[in-house]
Symmetry: C2
Subunit: 327 residues, 2 copies
C-alpha cells in the first residue's frame, strides 16, 4: 500500500512534534509527512531537523491566496493542525482549502482535556466554533482530545529534584477542592502515537475521540510522588469560590484590554483548573456522555507509558520537560 | 412495569400535541403524561381536552422560583420540551430544575430538520447553545430532529383543492435551485410516535437522533402531486444568490429592530430554504456525518404514513393542516 500523505501545521510545537514522531515511527501504517511552515519560519533549526528525518517542509501562508493553499494540499490525504492557539482562526482558510483540495480527513487543533463544549473554558468554545465550521463545509474530520499531560502533572518537591522537568509557568502547587477529583492523564509522547492510529482508522471518521493513559486524582499523584521520591509534600487546596473569583478578575482584565495575554493566560489556567480539578470534567465517563469514542476501547493493545514509570524516570533526571522557554 | 412518567412543556403546540398522542397511544411502553402549562393557560380548551384524555395538567412557571419547579419535576422520569420558539430561553431554568430533581432524560425542543449546528440557520444555533448548557450540567438527554413535515410540503394547485390543508403563511411556491435536491420528510403525526420509541430506548441516551419517513426532491413532490391530482403545476426556481440577498435584507431589518417578528420570520424561512433546498442539508447522510443516530436503523419495524398516501388523502379533503391560524 502506498503511504498515506499527511500535512501537519504546527509541526514544531509540543503537540505537533509528538504527532510527527508518531507518524514517522508508525509500525504499521506508513505515512509520508509534509510540514506546512510559515514562510518566515522555514529556516528554523527545528524545521531543518525535520527535513533530516525525511519530512517535506514547505512554506504555507494560511492567510494567503486560497488557490495556493489548495494546490499545496492537492494529493494530501489527511491534514492535521496543531497550530498555536493564538492562530486558531487560520484553521478556517485551511479547512476551506482542504475541502476544495478533496482532503479525506481534517484534524483540527483540539488536543485538549475533556471540557464541556461551551460555558466553562473560553478557548474550548473557539475550537467548537471551528468544528461547527468544518461541519458546515461537510469536510471529513476527526476531533481528538487527550488526557492532561504527565509533563504538566508533576508537583514541585522540596529538594528541587523535579524542577528541571517542570514547565516555566508551573507556579501554582495548589490542588483543587479536596484533591479527590479524578482526571485522565497521558504522556505527551504517546499522544502522537494515538493520532497515528486514529487517522487511518475508519471507525473514527467524523467522530470525536478521547485518548488517555491512566486516571489519577491529585491526591493519588501526590501520594505516588511522595512514595517514590521519599519527600513529604505540602498540600494546599483551592475552593471553587476562589477559582471563580480569579476567573472573574482575569476576565474583566482581559475584557478591559484584549491584548493582555497575561490576563488571558490566567483566565485559561483557572478555567482549566475549574474544569478538571473541581468539576471533574476530564474523565472517560464524561467523554462518553459527550459522545466521544474512547481510545481504550478503540485500541486495547496500545502500549503506553505508565504514570508511575514516568514519575520514576523524572526522579532519575531522565525526562524532558515541556514549555521550558529558553532552556 | 410501572408507567414511565413524562412531563411535557408546550403540549398544545403542533409538535407537543403529536408527542402527547404518541405517548398516550404507545402500544408497548406505558407512559403517564403530565402537561406543564403556563398558569395563565391552564383554563384553555386544549388543556381541558388533555385532561379528558387522562393527562395531568399542572401549572408551571418556568421563570418562577426554582424550588417549585424542582418539586414539580420530582418523580418525573423524562422531561420533553416542545416549547414555543420565542420561549426557548426558558429551557435553561427547566434544565436546571430537571438536573436537581434527578430527571433521567431531558428532551429539549429541537425537532427541526437537519441543519449544521452553526452558521446557516440562526435559530438552530440557539438550540445548540441549550444543548451545550445541558451538557455542561451533565443532564442525561436526547436531542431529536425530524424530517420536514408533510403538512408543510404540499404545493398550492390551480384548482385550489389543496388550499384547505396549507398553512396560512404558505405563500412561496418557488422550488430551490434546480428542484433536484433531496430532503427528508415526515408526517407530523408520526413524530410523536417516534418520540415515544426514542425516550424509553437506552441506545438513544445522550445521543442525537434523526427521524424521518421518506426522502423526496422538490421535483419529485411536484411530479407526484401532478400525477395524483391531475393538474399541471408551474415550477419557479430560486437561486442561492436570491436567497442570500433575502437573508441579508431580513437580517439587517431584524438587527435594526429586534422586535420585528416579521423580519425574523422572513430570515428564518429563507435560511431554512437555503439549508434544505439549496445546500441539501436535510438528508440522512448529512445527519450521520453530524453524528446523529438514524431512526430507520433504530426502528426498522416502525410503520409510518407514506408521502404518496398523505397526498392522496389531502386531495380527498381528508387531512388536517398545521399553523392554520384561526381556522
Amino acid at each position: 500500500m502506498s503511504p498515506i500523505k499527511v500535512a501537519v501545521v504546527g509541526a514544531t510545537g509540543e503537540t505537533g512534534a509528538s504527532i510527527v514522531d508518531g507518524l514517522l515511527e508508525s509500525p504499521t501504517t506508513k505515512y509520508e509527512v509534509t510540514a506546512l511552515a510559515r514562510p518566515e519560519s522555514l529556516e528554523k533549526r527545528a524545521y531543518q531537523a525535520l527535513k533530516d528525518r525525511g519530512v517535506n517542509v514547505v512554506a504555507a501562508d494560511l492567510k494567503g491566496p486560497q488557490d495556493e493553499l489548495v494546490s499545496l494540499l492537492s494529493g494530501i490525504d489527511v491534514v492535521i493542525s496543531a497550530i498555536f492557539f493564538a492562530s486558531l482562526a487560520d484553521e478556517i482558510p485551511l479547512a476551506d482549502a482542504a475541502k476544495r483540495a478533496g482532503v479525506k480527513r481534517f484534524i483540527q487543533s483540539a488536543f485538549m482535556i475533556m471540557i464541556p463544549p461551551r460555558g466553562v473554558v473560553d478557548f474550548r468554545e473557539k475550537k467548537e466554533e471551528i468544528l461547527n465550521y468544518i461541519q458546515k463545509l461537510r469536510l471529513p474530520y476527526t476531533y481528538i482530545d487527550a488526557g492532561w499531560w504527565y509533563q504538566l502533572t508533576l508537583p514541585r518537591i522540596p529538594s528541587g529534584r523535579l524542577d528541571y522537568a517542570l514547565p516555566v509557568y508551573n507556579s501554582e502547587p495548589r490542588l483543587g477542592l479536596d484533591g479527590n477529583v479524578p482526571s485522565a492523564l497521558a504522556d505527551i509522547g504517546d499522544i502522537g502515537r494515538y493520532v497515528a492510529r486514529i487517522i487511518s482508522d475508519p471507525r473514527t471518521l467524523n467522530k470525536k475521540v478521547y485518548v488517555y493513559n491512566e486516571v489519577y486524582t491529585r491526591n493519588q499523584v501526590y501520594d505516588l510522588v511522595e512514595k517514590l521520591g521519599g519527600e513529604s509534600l505540602e498540600r494546599e487546596y483551592i475552593t471553587e469560590q476562589e477559582i471563580n473569583s480569579r476567573i472573574e478578575e482575569a476576565r474583566s482584565d482581559f475584557e478591559a484590554n484584549p491584548t493582555n495575554q497575561a490576563a488571558f493566560s490566567y483566565l485559561s489556567t483557572n478555567q482549566l483548573l475549574l474544569s478538571w480539578a473541581i468539576r471533574g470534567d476530564n474523565t472517560p465517563d464524561y467523554a462518553r456522555y459527550l459522545g466521544y469514542l474512547d481510545g481504550k476501547e478503540l485500541y486495547p493493545d496500545f502500549t503506553y507509558v505508565k504514570f508511575e514509570d514516568y514519575v520514576k524516570a523524572a526522579l532519575e533526571g531522565e525526562v524532558k520537560g515541556v514549555y521550558q522557554g529558553g532552556k
